[in-house]
């Protein structure tokens, strides 16, 4: 960032995250322009729909490769939800499946050169995490009524400790959406920015740039892993929060 004013070879690792308007739309005072973020959101959705509609075109008894992939996604997330939130949680499986696939494909498409990573923005991950937080809290109150407040009071703690623990529990509960969203966005930003920095080294070092190139090869592979793992982490945390709301502790 120090050499932001430099020209020519200068590479800004944050430039890839810039929001660019494609179709300006203003409703009242609100800027709802169709941006590159929106475009890549729809690319992620389109990729998911493409995969699933192509995979399930026959609904074959013996799946081919594409169908196996789609069924793998389905079985993986479904088992995850059932393991984390029980059979009762399966009612919310479509929501969690949607979140998982959206994040997974947004992350993966973000690995393409010149693409945009939707999930690298706190606006999107924060909105997702807040939506999960509000929904899960609402489920908890609808299922348990005011009894849900006892979620914040550990049953086995000694009486004098209960108020302190309750405060801690409430704080940790409300920090959930923050950690939930920052974890995903920060992982995406850090990984992609690091790739860009390495690429800058490679460009600047000439022939010796082979070394950072090799490093990038490994980091890119690692970044693909992170993309998948962060989608999984976001989804399983959603399922765990759901389990807390459904079954308390």
């Amino acid at each position: 960032m120090a050499d932001a004013s430099g020209g020519g070879m200068h590479i800004d690792p944050m430039y890839q995250f810039a929001i660019k308007e494609i179709v300006p739309i203003h409703l009242g005072g609100l800027n709802l322009s169709f941006t590159n973020s929106a475009l890549w959101s729809f690319y992620a959705v389109g990729a998911t729909i493409l995969l699933f509609s192509f995979a399930m075109r026959g609904g074959a008894l013996v799946p081919d490769r594409v169908q196996s992939v789609a069924e793998g996604f389905y079985g993986f997330v479904r088992n995850m939800v059932r393991d984390a939130a029980g059979d009762e949680g399966l009612k919310y499986f479509p929501y969690i499946f949607t979140i998982f696939l959206f994040i997974f494909f947004a992350n993966m498409l973000g690995m393409l050169p010149y693409s945009f990573t939707v999930t690298s923005h706190l606006a999107v991950t924060g909105a997702l995490a807040l939506a999960v937080f509000i929904t899960v809290t609402a489920i908890g109150f609808r299922k348990h009524g005011t009894h849900f407040f006892s979620f914040f009071v550990p049953k086995d703690a000694p009486g004098w400790l209960k108020p302190i623990l309750a405060v801690i529990e409430v704080i940790s509960y409300f920090v959930r959406p923050l950690s939930h969203s920052v974890r995903l966005a920060a992982n995406m930003v850090a990984g992609h920015a690091m790739l860009k920095v390495f690429a800058g080294f490679a460009a600047a070092m000439g022939v010796a740039g082979v070394l950072p190139m090799l490093g990038m090869l490994g980091v890119t592979a690692l970044e693909f892993l992170v993309c998948a793992i962060q989608a999984y982490v976001f989804a399983i945390l959603t399922a765990i929060y759901l389990n807390d709301a459904l079954h308390m502790h």
Binding site: M14, I19, N31, F42, V45, F52, M56, Q67, T98
Partner: protein, 179 residues
């Protein structure tokens, strides 16, 4: 919000993530995209997936059931086979025993018949032998009496008494038989 069309170059020094003016647009379009994805998944992809998995589950279950039925059938056939084998063996044993009994009986009957016929023939032979002996004895007696009478007639003519001679011959024959 004062400059809606913010070029990227203008904010290259900062983190685009912290430009709150872009938040509404990002959140709005992400929500639209998520809604589209949710509708597609819940209306089409998941039901299709469930149908395919249920069909597979059913097919596998059906195949397993068919295999179990086939196995039961095979077991039944095996039992039937064993049973009919045992029956056939028993029948064969019975037939064999019956045939043996019949042949034994026939043999015994033939033996008894043969014994009877042999006994009859023996008895007839013995009777004939007895008859021949009796007739021979009678012939010997009469020949001896006649011979003795003839001899006496030669040496003492008119003195031979037939009854006396025959008694003497009897005595002589008895003496012969005794010695």
């Amino acid at each position: 919000m004062a400059t809606p069309a913010h070029a990227a170059a203008e904010q290259s020094a900062g983190m685009p993530q912290l430009d709150f003016s872009t938040y509404p647009a990002q959140i709005f379009w992400a929500a639209v995209a998520l809604f589209v994805l949710y509708r597609y998944l819940s209306r089409r992809a998941i039901p299709q997936m469930e149908a395919a998995l249920a069909a597979r589950h059913e097919a596998i279950g059906g195949s397993l059931e068919a295999a179990a039925a086939a196995r039961r059938e095979a077991g039944q056939a095996e039992a039937d086979y064993q049973k009919s084998l045992a029956e056939a063996r028993a029948r064969a044993q019975a037939t064999l025993a019956e045939a043996k009994a019949r042949s034994d009986a026939a043999l015994a009957a033939r033996l008894a018949e043969a014994d009877a016929s042999i006994a009859g023939k023996t008895a007839a032979g013995e009777a004939r032998i007895a008859g021949i002996r009796a007739s021979a004895e009678t012939d010997v007696r009469s020949v001896a009496s006649e011979a003795a009478a003839a001899i006496l007639e030669r040496f003492l003519p008119g003195k031979a008494d037939a009854a006396e001679v025959s008694r003497a011959v009897e005595d002589g024959l008895a003496g012969l038989k005794r010695s």
